[in-house]
Point group: C2
Chain length 608, copies 2
């Protein structure tokens, strides 16, 4: 049985059949929908408003959506199974001709991209005006461009034919002062740009229409380099065995990016050939492997990479499948462990333009800590390690189907599993919840030790003590168990989390010390990163991952690095700001400080 | 039997054996010697001064060398057969560290090339100074460079290894603001540049040491495109059949240039890899075929090419075998038939900086005429055609062995043959001599008609009349005849020369008219081009190729285009001047003028 669903915008009628998943149906119809988690119900970005449809809320929706959203008929498209005709409204991402807004910050920025189109109508050649074709076009364009207009040999090779075909008028696509493509006169073909965030674990891409400033699609993909090691150091170790392996790493990464670009464009019904620029952020190791640069000195004291400056190169040279004459703009990095992704987070949060002290933490495979005060921005990189992404955790996994993503003990233990299936493991947010709750309920002591059942003094000891399993010296807490499998939290897992927590908290403490401020002075705490959207603020404080800030000061900003890369794509002023950030930010090398070890050891403890 | 010959400079002793040709011996020993004609005795450039050697002068030397040169012991190295020990002095091409001089103009120019070396000693990375390798180098170089320093991905890929190998010091080779190569600290390897003059018939290359400003070698080679047609129009016709043929033409040209570069470097004992920049001049069609650009609109009214602006591209993109990151600088052109070669002639002669009226004529397959007055430089292109290069002439040939290169009737006919062998044909200078002398002696009338023997009124009628052969309507003048072959000048040949002469002379007349000056106002007449060195001034005037200027005003400047390209290689100011020339020069399209046809027809006549 088929029925009609009207989708606004773009105000199109889709024919759906009973049982179709709404998110999948929208994407297949080429309607762009922000859903970086791929329909797992974790990113909470695919919100749609239904009307004329009697759709029940799923448990996950009830838990994740706000009261206002539930009252307003908002759903997560990934949770909606279509059963009848009706209307679907997508959130307004749009934007005026001159302004662009995006991201969770909802900020408006000027639309001044590096890529632009210039309509030209040239005077025709005659015996009185024998200027060569390129001279004619360049002189015309130079009337509206500051400086000399350039182009490439390959464009020159098609120029004469095109100009005569189009009677000497048309649309020039410019990247900076370079003509990279020619469209027929009156062409309304779009000019796209893409922001790429190359994480150690995840590749994310945001596609923007550079004519309107609208972000038309966002998508993410595993970094295929994971096959060569989960963290940056293991990849550096792999690649240092010679340039063939370095090329292998590079090739895999570019293949992954190209697949992501293809999917992104397909879902948005756009052509990759119409992407004329990519802004790229990532940690320095990822940027080095993208360019095929030697990265080993990043991992060896004094930790010096090959390139931290911004760097532009033609897409064709890298093999990135956008327009071959498109520009790839690698954003600048601050230091070997404070990459362009951190610069992008600062851009996105405007941390460098702050008056009141603000703290930002970007948690990925490393944890970058940024503290802004009137005196400027301090940054530190902490070796958080892969625990938050499931690495080195016995049942650790990423935030995909089957992962325990939230946990509570009240008094029975209660947990959420992504995809509402039997649990297979624990992802980062679940791990934080678990350790925080077990600490709150006295199963773990402050040093992170899993207590013997007899030692547990919790009022819910009857529910909790039986779940503590002690075999010889090894202790673990059993979360789930049936005849087929179990999911437990081991003593070693707690230790791993403590190392991550201790590293980040020590970074926060030392930056506050360096700036001479205390937790009370901080006006705002911004949490960014892959799971930045859905960790529980209260638990993060309980755990001591961050100092005991009032919860209302803590805000999640999602993938701030992507937002920053998009800003740099849409507004050249943001690129200049990025260079300013790099020049002005003061990076604190924590391992070089005499007080680092003491602080780190103290921060390993659970709680405050 | 072997003996020693001391060569100064470079003050080396060569072991030669009896019968060795001196020019060949010098080139084989890697001593650079200017001899573009390849030892034919026509270019008169391989002059050397012999002492301690009793060397007789050949007939050719006696004819071609001046009294002072003969008295001073100067010889043409190509004419010298070594028979005993002695000393050979090469002419001083050198040059101080800061000044370069070259060419027949002997002018000094500033040495400010686009390519330069910067020694660097970087502070070493430490925990206190964690700048990335490229940041470190670029920031160092930016202290002595105006603006931002750039580089390419391929250099970045070797940077980290090199810096550590050399303990963070070395020599950076810069092309403009781009680092293109790294040499070890203290390296004394040279930085070379090459000037390329791409003629329709001849490719010429001049190799310069950009550290000293010294021109170390000059060489020339046939343009291999000749197989696809002798003139530009036939090549354009060939290439318009599709881009495969265009690529074929391009490939052949680049192959020819690469062979020339290899030979040039071998003779100068240098490496092509050490050439970091090429400046390229030529007519616009040749520059279009070099770049693989569509050239057909050059030949179709209103005669508009694809590119007349200066254009820079990496050597690797073109396949030119210099350093792959080296820069190829295509010099700007004025109009479709007034190419970068003309701009280079103006640069070489400083015509654009003149106060008194000066005329320059560059005779190749086309004839470019330039007239400078206080009001600026006027240029015109004339369709001289290939007659001067032997094209469309029954016994026409280029200036190689067997060509009649000079002719006189006093009263017996007397001619010189290149290589002193039996004549095989007539080259450009011989053709001018022949027609001029036959006109002077009354064998030709003013209309260029070969008279019937009975009509000839010359006092040398007895010598000349029997050589006029009349068969039906076809008439010809027999220069040489034996049992095996003959060389004659046909009525049709005279017509071809008249067309060429008429075109050039009309160009001269019309430019003088345009400028409002007469022949008496002209202070200097400069003749450039392939045979610019060895046509007879008096005969050129007799023929009416140029107006009857006093002979002392007429100067030969050889390959002025090559001199201009070398200037642009050695001094960036000259490149700015080239753009100024293009912007300021006024090009007169002769065929567009109402008085062209009448003037041209009048100028077809022989004499004044």
């Amino acid at each position: 049985m088929k029925f009609n669903v009207r989708v606004i915008p773009p105000d199109r009628e889709l024919k759906l059949k009973a049982g179709d998943n709404l998110r999948t149906a929208l994407i297949e119809a080429g309607i762009s929908l922000d859903s970086p988690c791929g329909g797992q119900g974790t990113c909470l970005k695919c919100k749609v408003q239904l009307s004329g449809v009697s759709q029940k809320y799923t448990e996950l929706e009830k838990e994740k959506l706000s009261r206002e959203e539930l009252d307003g008929g908002w759903h997560l498209a990934c949770q909606v199974t279509v059963e009848e005709s009706g209307e679907v409204r997508l959130p307004e991402v749009e934007i005026s001709r001159a302004k662009a807004s995006f991201g969770l910050l909802g900020e408006e920025i000027a639309l001044q991209p590096n890529v632009r189109g210039i309509h030209f109508e040239l005077s025709k050649p005659s015996l009185k005006d024998q200027r060569a074709d390129w001279n004619r076009l360049a002189e015309y364009l130079e009337q509206s461009v500051n400086g000399t207009v350039n182009t490439s040999l390959s464009l020159l090779r098609e120029l004469s034919v095109r100009l005569r075909e189009w009677n000497f008028s048309g649309e020039a696509v410019m990247v900076g002062n370079e003509v990279v493509a020619l469209d027929p006169p009156g062409s309304t073909e779009d000019r796209l740009g893409v922001a790429l965030d190359i994480g150690t674990t995840t590749l994310a891409a945001g596609l923007a229409d550079l004519g309107t400033g609208r972000v038309v699609a966002i998508d993410a993909e595993l970094n295929p380099q994971i096959a060569f090691g989960a963290d940056v150091v293991s990849r550096i170790m792999y690649a240092q065995d010679g340039h063939e392996k370095r090329e292998r790493l590079q090739k895999e990464l570019i293949k992954g990016l190209n697949q992501l670009l293809l999917r992104l464009c397909r879902s948005a019904r756009r052509e990759t050939e119409r992407i004329f620029e990519a802004t790229v952020v990532g940690n320095t190791t990822m940027l080095h492997t993208l360019l095929g640069l030697e990265a080993k000195h990043i991992a060896l004291a004094p930790y010096v990479g090959g390139l931290n400056r911004p760097f532009d190169l033609p897409a064709a040279e890298l093999g990135l499948q956008i327009h071959p004459r498109g520009n790839v703009h690698i954003m600048p990095s601050i230091a070997s462990f404070v990459g362009a992704d951190t610069v992008a987070v600062i851009l996105a949060t405007k941390l460098h333009q702050t008056n009141n002290p603000r703290l930002a933490i970007d948690i990925g495979t490393n944890g970058e800590v940024m503290l802004a005060t009137k005196k400027g921005v301090l940054t530190a990189s902490t070796a958080a390690g892969p625990a938050f992404e499931g690495g080195r955790i016995k049942y650790g996994m990423r935030a995909v189907k089957g992962a325990i993503s939230a946990f509570q003990a009240t008094p029975e233990i209660d947990y959420s599993v992504i995809g509402s299936v039997a649990p297979r493991g624990i992802c980062g947010s679940g791990l934080i919840d678990l350790v925080a709750e077990l600490y709150r309920t006295g199963v773990l002591d402050q040093k992170g030790r899993i207590l013997q059942p007899a030692e547990i003094k919790s009022k819910w000891v009857e529910e909790l003590a039986p779940r503590v399993r002690v075999r010889k010296e090894a202790r673990e807490f059993v979360i789930f168990e049936d005849e087929n499998r179990e999911v437990t939290l081991t003593q070693q897992d707690v230790r791993e989390l403590q190392l991550a927590k201790g590293a980040i908290r020590a970074g926060v403490e030392l930056l506050m010390k360096e700036a001479g401020i205390g937790a009370d002075d901080v006006h705002e705490v911004l949490l960014a990163g892959v799971f930045g959207n859905y960790i529980n603020r209260e638990r993060a404080v309980t755990l001591g991952l961050i100092p005991p800030f009032p919860l209302e000061k803590i805000h999640f900003i999602g993938n701030g690095a992507m937002d920053g890369a998009l800003k740099a794509l849409l507004d050249m002023e943001e690129r200049r700001q990025a260079e300013k950030i790099v020049a002005e930010v003061q990076h604190i090398e924590l391992s070089g400080r005499p007080d680092f070890e003491e602080t780190f050891l103290r921060c390993l403890s659970l709680g405050d």
